[in-house]
């Protein structure tokens, strides 16, 4: 019964001053709309940067580190505490960066639970020659189907097809920026020279773009056997094994385990991209600070309006109290108004926030060669909308509660006597 009568009073108050109600609601609306837009956009940028960096890197990479430092033979043989050996300019031992039984290891890792795909590959530094132009880069010899499974190459191709590489043993899929620098396109030939002197003429059958400068600028894919041939190695020669997991977080323990089992170096994505991850942390803090500032500013605006509303009604409050309404009825009356304003204003804010972020997400944006986007990256995550409406409600309820609690304690005599 109490709720019913207080609801009725609250409704009458809201309806009597429609413009004031609307202004209060707009205060909530704009605060929340800006919050939604900001957070969707900033998180979109974060997500995009993270994805574009992490998508192009394996979750775990197994490789054999070539280390020129080795203990001198004489130190091993003739070791004493009272004397020391002096060796000048020790020559490095010839060392292969190959993974022994790499293909077998790859097959066994594929059996591990949680592994999405494994791609053994042979990666080497090369010079690309097209006529007089000479550009250094890398070439990765891969099983293109396995590589595609890991990095979704199909979707990153700018020209040509994956199948073209499979059907053409001397094919090459080249990073788009590199191809432009060399002034080649699908169908053209380039000659590839390895550090050991091997040279081969390969035909560009496609170009790809990861949207990351360092990759698109330097990297090409060729068939594993082709690269083995240029390097004059046997058919089991691989230098890297790339692994992708279903859950990236499981990659870290798996990397440790693989290192223990096979004795090769492993590098997980978190270590390889620690700079990016640190940057992401900083951006997350920034997003949080900016969003909070927005919400707090909006909250104070709402508080102001609710406070004014209560002060305007102080005479009515005195009358209600004189005719028998209790303090908690008064609080309820204004709280109900606050909830109404918060809920309706908040919902409008969500709608406007959605429209703004949608408009942002279709706004053309040219980031050049370095980022593969055509429009601004925006995330549409229901989480933010829930946060927005909750915040709108909580602030308006608090902003309505404090002034109304003060008003409920008002002494009706002091108001009514004038």
């Amino acid at each position: 019964m109490n709720l019913r009568i207080t609801t009725q009073i609250a409704r009458t108050h809201l309806m009597a001053k429609k413009r004031q109600t609307l202004v209060a609601m707009l205060g909530v609306t704009f605060g929340i709309a800006m919050f939604i837009t900001m957070i969707s956009f900033m998180q979109g940028v974060n997500q995009f940067l993270e994805d574009s960096a992490l998508d192009a890197s394996p979750h775990v990479r197994i490789y054999n580190e070539v280390n020129t430092q080795r203990p001198a033979l004489i130190d091993q043989l003739n070791r004493s505490d009272s004397a020391f050996n002096v060796i000048y300019h020790q020559k490095p031992k010839e060392q292969l960066s190959r993974l022994k039984n790499g293909l077998l290891i790859a097959r066994r890792i594929e059996q591990e639970p949680g592994v999405l795909g494994v791609s053994p590959q042979l990666s080497t530094q090369v010079f690309y020659n097209n006529g007089p132009i000479q550009i250094s880069g890398t070439v990765a010899g891969v099983d293109i189907d396995r590589e595609n499974r890991l990095y979704n190459l199909k979707s990153r191709l700018k020209s040509g097809t994956i199948n073209a590489l499979r059907s053409n043993p001397n094919g090459l899929i080249m990073g788009s920026v590199l191809a432009r620098k060399l002034n080649v396109r699908a169908g053209d030939k380039v000659s590839v020279t390895t550090p050991t002197g091997g040279t081969m003429i390969l035909r560009v059958v496609g170009t790809f773009s990861f949207g990351i400068g360092t990759v698109d600028n330097t990297k090409s894919y060729a068939n594993l056997s082709t690269v083995q041939e240029i390097l004059q190695k046997d058919a089991s020669y691989v230098t890297d094994i790339h692994i992708k997991m279903f859950d990236p977080l499981l990659a870290i323990p798996l990397g440790k385990k693989l290192r223990a089992v096979y004795g090769y170096y492993t590098e997980d994505w978190a270590t390889a991209n620690s700079a990016i991850l640190a940057g992401e942390k900083i951006r997350n803090v920034m997003t949080f600070v900016v969003s909070m500032t927005l919400l707090v500013v909006a909250g104070f605006g709402i508080y102001n309006i609710m406070n004014m509303n209560v002060i305007n009604k102080i005479k009515d409050i005195a009358i209600l109290k004189a005719t028998g309404f209790e303090g908690k009825d008064i609080v309820l009356i204004f709280l109900l108004q606050a909830i109404f304003i918060g809920l309706l204003g908040g919902l409008m804010g969500l709608l406007i926030g959605f429209l703004l972020s949608y408009m942002l997400s279709i706004t053309p944006f040219n980031a050049g060669d370095f980022l593969s986007i055509k429009t601004f990256p925006v995330i549409f995550d229901p989480k933010y909308y829930v946060m927005g409406i909750l915040f709108g409600l909580i602030t308006t309820v608090l902003a309505g509660y404090f002034p109304s609690r003060k008003a409920s304690k008002v002494d009706p005599v002091s108001i009514l006597r004038g």
């Binding site: 019964m1 109490n2 019913r4 009568i5 009725q8 009073i9 009458t12 108050h13 309806m15 009597a16 001053k17 005479k315 009515d316 005195a318 009358i319 209600l320 109290k321 004189a322 005719t323 028998g324 309404f325 209790e326 303090g327 908690k328 009825d329 002494d411 009706p412 005599v413 009514l416 006597r417 004038g418």
Partner: protein, 228 residues
């Protein structure tokens, strides 16, 4: 005669700007169905006394008993409920809620009391409005009424819960002769017919002369009490 209100040894001080004793050991009793007028010059403390009796002002010394219940020292919420059920008020400046219709203004205290269903409350509110001759204005916003009309509506509101006591702080202070007459007649009638008690502070000698008993105050003390 049944006593409906007992005020004993009321002392009240104002502390702003200086400590000043407004009421000095005021004691009196009121009978059921009595029409009591409190008169006196401005500043003699009669309004202050009325607000103490109304239970809205709780900052005093002495004890207040209404309907056999001691009200001194009760919580605000208890007093609110008590006022709602047992007391009705008419102020000098009508004080209706401007956003509500006449009918709603009258209904609010009854809806708060929750003794009757909304339908019944509406019916009763109509009855009260009819009694004071305001039934045709029931659906109008109260801010659209004239001062005299608003005062009559305020009386209807004061009566809606059939209170034991109706209190008026210069209920006719702002009204012309005709409206004063109407308000007075209503008071007279409810005291006589319904045996509800009326306590009114007034400046109007005619109004006081028409009451059952007049208490005259001066300098915070009751200097005379005589029946008409």
């Amino acid at each position: 005669m049944e006593k409906v209100l007992k005020a004993s040894h009321f002392n009240k001080y104002f502390t702003e700007p200086d400590r000043f004793q407004v009421l000095k050991d005021v004691s009196f009793e009121v009978n059921k169905g009595e029409f009591l007028a409190i008169v006196g010059k401005s500043g003699c403390g009669k309004s202050t006394l009325l607000y103490l009796l109304s239970t809205m002002d709780t900052d005093y010394e002495g004890t207040l008993e209404i309907n056999g219940q001691t009200l001194t020292g009760r919580s605000q919420d208890y007093l609110s409920k008590f006022r709602n059920e047992h007391l009705g008020f008419v102020f000098q400046f009508h004080f209706l809620l401007p956003e509500f219709t006449t009918l709603q203004n009258v209904m609010l205290p009854a809806l708060k009391l929750g003794k009757y269903s909304e339908k019944e409350v509406e019916h009763r509110a109509y009855e009260k409005l009819k009694m004071i001759g305001m039934a045709e204005h029931a659906r109008k916003l109260s801010s659209k009424l004239s001062g005299g009309q608003q005062q009559r509506v305020a009386i209807a509101r004061a009566l809606i819960n059939d209170p034991t006591i109706v209190m008026g702080d210069e209920p006719t202070g702002n009204l012309d002769r005709t409206n004063t007459r109407i308000v007075f007649d209503i008071f007279r009638e409810i005291a006589r017919e319904n045996h509800q008690t009326i306590i009114a502070v007034t400046h109007d000698p005619d109004f006081a002369a028409g009451s059952d008993r007049v208490i005259e105050m001066s300098d915070g003390m009751i200097i005379s009490s005589h029946e008409n």
